[in-house]
Symmetry: C2
Subunit: 121 residues, 2 copies
DNA sequence: TTATCATATGATCATTTATTAATATGAAAA
DNA sequence: TTTTCATATTAATAAATGATCATATGATAA
């Protein structure tokens, strides 16, 4: 129990613990990327879109019908997901089909789902 | 390629796909819980706090020192995490120690990290 | 070409959220 | 009891975000 230096306006009580953990922390840039990644899953609309795309390739208007969302709203979310390279699309005439573009996405969804189902009985 | 009913103001092109996926969709309530769960990981401060706690039990002021955050900010985030039963605490005199309160959390962090490290070379 | 359809984009608005400063609580030390 | 220290809480503010409306793009069909 040593009293360490001040960095953020308050005392540090366990300097050894802080030092040890500090060595195991990711760089700030990485934490930011991680948070940005999880933020993609932090909205019910995007969760539904991703879940749906994990089941089938779908076009925008099918997603609208499936989820009861405005076309514009779906398009905006798809743009975010595409920009994060979590989703990709292909054009066939006027129709644009979306699919998941990353092997990890379904795993993340399922891991989260497992947690939810255990937490809320 | 059938043209289906209208629900959200636009046409549904692939009715069979939509029907099939609809049967595999989680209920809205569940999508909401999922999003709320991932939202916890969608902020750099919380990511750092959770990562730190996955390495050691820590008190509030140690977290402040480690992360360079104001005590108030740390406390706010810990409150959110505790309320979501992702983190728990114990009191020892004036000091309150926090730990992860869920086996899944570290797994989620690591899965996300794996994704990040593959994406950003 | 013009009209139509599927999708994308831009601007705006309302809501949520993270941080801060100030203050309160609650336990130990003096 | 009074003071000090660790943490929590409240209120205010600024920034981020998701939905919507209106409009634009881009491809096919007439």
């Amino acid at each position: 129990m040593e009293i360490g230096d001040i960095d953020c306006g308050i005392r540090m009580i366990h300097e050894d613990t802080v030092d040890s953990v500090k060595r195991q922390m990711p760089k700030k840039e990485i934490s930011g990327w991680l948070a940005d990644f999880f933020k993609l899953f932090g909205d019910p609309s995007r969760i539904s879109i991703l879940w749906a795309l994990s089941k089938a390739e779908m076009c925008v208007c099918d997603l609208c019908a499936l989820l009861g969302m405005k076309q514009s709203a779906v398009s905006h979310q798809l743009k975010i997901l595409k920009h994060s390279r979590i989703v990709k699309n292909r054009r066939d005439g006027k129709v644009i089909y979306y699919t998941l573009d990353d092997d990890h996405i379904e795993g993340v969804l399922k891991l989260g789902m497992r947690h939810i189902l255990e937490e809320k009985p």
